[in-house]
């Protein structure tokens, strides 16, 4: 494996993000330019005068990475050069504050591969709710409490938003399935036009679990049906990762501190049923079980 994200970065032990980025860069190769929004990725890899990046890397703001990448791509065209243009950013910038910029890049059809490492909250600022935070997860701005069971809203369906822009390649991936992730990145960068890959990326501090369990938890998200692995090419569902015998969502939820209240508080049982229904809906929608 090429090491295009150098060791010595400052991410937490057990963080899935550097693994995701290394896999993405390994698949993309050295002829790649990366734009990153403000994120854990940015602050852990580029404290001046150090940098962990072995490919050209540009950071501007929290909410403009897709527009900045559009500028990189048109400049490549202008100078008759060829390189992969990647955005690698978290869910806060992707789902929320950068939505306008993402929509513009998708709609204009730039040849940019947008990779969201999705840890389902604003982790860099200390675990606040984002549009990607799942139903009833505890965050510091949707805490569980006497009258609250955590985040009151379900996760925003960002892949559907990308598909609504007719983005020709849209996929989900997981840090627990590196071969699948690498293959999807290769397909994405070969796409003529924009592509979007959303990678499940557990956060040890935000989700609260033991640092050795990162991959195990990511795998459970897939095995329960809560994180279906799929791929859309030109708007058509072309591939899903089948789940042989789906595990109950409790197996995934009980291993994380952010759902602890669901197993302790009155009303938690009802929520567990609702989350199971979400997993079942995914299993049915994507035909995850043969």
């Amino acid at each position: 494996m090429q090491n295009l994200l150098a060791p010595g970065h400052r991410a937490c032990a057990g963080c899935s993000m550097p693994t995701v980025v290394r896999l993405v860069l390994d698949a993309a190769g050295p002829n790649t330019i990366v734009v990153s929004p403000t994120s854990c990725l940015e602050v852990t890899t580029t404290p001046f005068p150090e940098s962990a990046w072995c490919v050209p890397w540009l950071h501007s703001l929290f909410e403009n990475a897709a527009a900045v990448a559009s500028g990189v791509e048109i400049a490549l065209k202008r100078f008759h050069k060829d390189a992969n243009v990647l955005v690698i950013g978290g869910d806060g910038s992707t789902f929320d504050i950068g939505m306008g910029s993402n929509s513009g890049m998708f709609e204009r059809g730039h040849k940019v591969t947008y990779v969201c490492y999705d840890n389902e909250a604003y982790m860099n600022t200390g675990v606040q709710r984002s549009g990607s935070t799942p139903f009833c997860a505890h965050t510091t701005t949707t805490p569980s409490g006497e009258i609250s069971l955590g985040n009151p809203r379900p996760k925003k369906d960002m892949p559907a938003i990308a598909l609504a822009h007719r983005v020709p390649y849209v996929a989900t991936a997981s840090v627990a399935y590196p071969v699948d992730l690498r293959r999807k990145v290769k397909k994405a960068i070969e796409t003529q036009g924009p592509s979007y890959i959303q990678v499940n990326a557990p956060c040890i501090t935000g989700w609260t679990f033991d640092a050795g369990k990162t991959v195990e938890i990511a795998r459970l998200a897939v095995e329960t049906g809560l994180w279906p692995l799929f791929e859309y090419v030109n708007g058509q569902l072309t591939e899903v990762k089948k789940v042989r015998r789906p595990k109950p969502v409790e197996d995934y939820l009980k291993s994380q501190g952010r759902y602890r209240h669901l197993f302790k508080k009155p009303g938690g049982t009802e929520v567990l049923k609702q989350i199971q229904a979400m997993a079942d809906a995914n299993i049915s929608k994507y035909c995850l079980v043969d």
């Binding site: 580029t46 050209p56 540009l58 500028g71 990189v72 400049a75 100078f79 910029s101 513009g104 204009r108």
Partner: protein, 392 residues
């Protein structure tokens, strides 16, 4: 050969002559005609550039961050709410030392919504790290555009520039203009060859974060670059004059100021009216003159001290207000004089807000008030022609 054209066309033509690699555009009144003309030039093959219509002014400038990091010469234009929406990116472009040139078609900011001219938008953005040049007529807007690139792209400066022209008054006026010759501009303005770009063959990290041990030095370097720009703006204006035979001043310009007892200080298109008023008053024996501030950032402290040292009284006229403390230009001018030996009385007028006309009569009134202030300042700062009858 002089041609009668619309101000927006003339500026778009000037931008085209600078051979930008990437142009981004988002429509907003009264800047819209500039991007429309540029679009037509691209459609007709007259402008060979990557031209991108985007989803907001915020994206318009963000796109240029990416393109500039690739080594592209970049152009955009905006105004008012659009400039306000860009605010975060403005700091970013200057902090990343990207020599973007942007025309600002000066317009008022809401609320209340108002599409007409004043200079609240760019004066309010005086601290974002961009150089700011204010022009008095369409010809100066044209001539300042290649000058702006030459100043911005200087390796010792590498700082973006706003070329500020009054919206409607200059963007929509038809007047005789000497359009630039592209070949001649190419001789005046060398190709942009930045030292650091995004290149997979030589990977660089651009936009790393700086902690307290280095952040101050990044800011200092920007401050220092603006100080260096003081000499560069003068030099480039002279060089332009040698090549093209025209000048509208470097950091400042003056009109009938040498022996003037009353000196008016201002920026932008109101200068035409002021010159007419001065001619009238001079004919009546009133010793009044003008100092035009062409470069608002960097603020030309020494040039202004020199030009104004013999004035009996100074009246600053400006189309902005610092809601809470006077207005931008008058405050900066007072600060420039405080530690000098100049003890000339200075009074400030905010005028022409939201497109209200400033007339020769207004200038005469200001001159009378300034003259009276020599015997003692009655009001340090005021709103000119305030309609007290409609106030609550």
């Amino acid at each position: 050969m002089m041609k009668v054209v619309e101000g927006s066309y003339a500026v778009a033509h000037a931008a085209m002559c600078c051979s930008p690699d990437v142009v981004s555009a988002y429509p907003i009144t009264p800047q819209t005609h500039i991007v429309e003309h540029l679009s037509q030039m691209v459609a007709d093959g007259e402008l060979d550039a990557e031209f991108l219509t985007v989803d907001s002014e915020f994206s318009a400038l963000s796109v240029l961050v990416g393109a500039s990091a690739m080594g592209a010469r970049c152009y955009s234009s905006t105004t008012s709410q659009g400039l306000a929406l860009m605010y975060e990116v403005l700091y970013n472009v200057s902090g990343l030392r990207m020599p973007v040139v942007m025309t600002v078609a000066n317009r008022a900011l809401g609320a209340p919504l108002n599409i007409w001219n004043d200079q609240q938008d760019s004066v309010g953005a005086r601290d974002v790290g961009w150089l700011q040049l204010y022009v008095e007529n369409v010809q100066e807007a044209v001539d300042t555009t290649p000058q702006a690139y030459k100043i911005a792209e200087d390796m010792g400066i590498l700082t973006p520039i706003m070329v500020c022209m009054d919206g409607f008054i200059l963007t929509h006026v038809y007047e005789p203009v000497e359009l630039l010759d592209k070949e001649k501009v190419a001789g005046f303005l060398p190709a942009f060859k930045p030292e650091y770009v995004l290149d997979p063959a030589n990977p660089k990290t651009i936009g790393a974060f700086a902690d307290p041990s280095t952040y101050t030095e990044f800011r200092y370097l920007q401050f220092d670059a603006q100080q260096k720009a003081l000499a560069k703006i003068e030099a480039v204006a002279k060089e332009f004059q040698e090549t093209f035979g025209r000048t509208f001043g470097g950091l400042i310009d003056t009109y009938q100021a040498e022996d003037a007892e009353i000196v008016l200080v201002t920026m932008g298109s109101v200068i035409g009216t002021i010159k007419d008023a001065i001619d009238e008053m001079r004919a009546e024996g009133i010793k009044v003159g003008l100092v035009k501030v062409r470069s608002y950032r960097p603020f030309p402290v020494q040039a202004l001290r020199k030009a104004l040292k013999d004035a009996g009284v100074i009246a600053v006229i400006e189309k902005d207000v610092s809601i809470g403390n006077e207005a931008g230009l008058v405050t900066d001018l007072k600060a420039a004089f405080y530690n000098s030996k100049i003890r000339t009385p200075i009074i400030g007028f905010t005028a022409g807000l939201g497109g209200r006309d400033i007339t020769v009569k207004d200038i005469r009134k200001i001159t009378e008030k300034a003259s009276a202030a020599r015997k003692g300042i009655e009001s340090e700062f005021e709103f000119l022609d305030l309609r007290t009858e409609i106030l609550p």
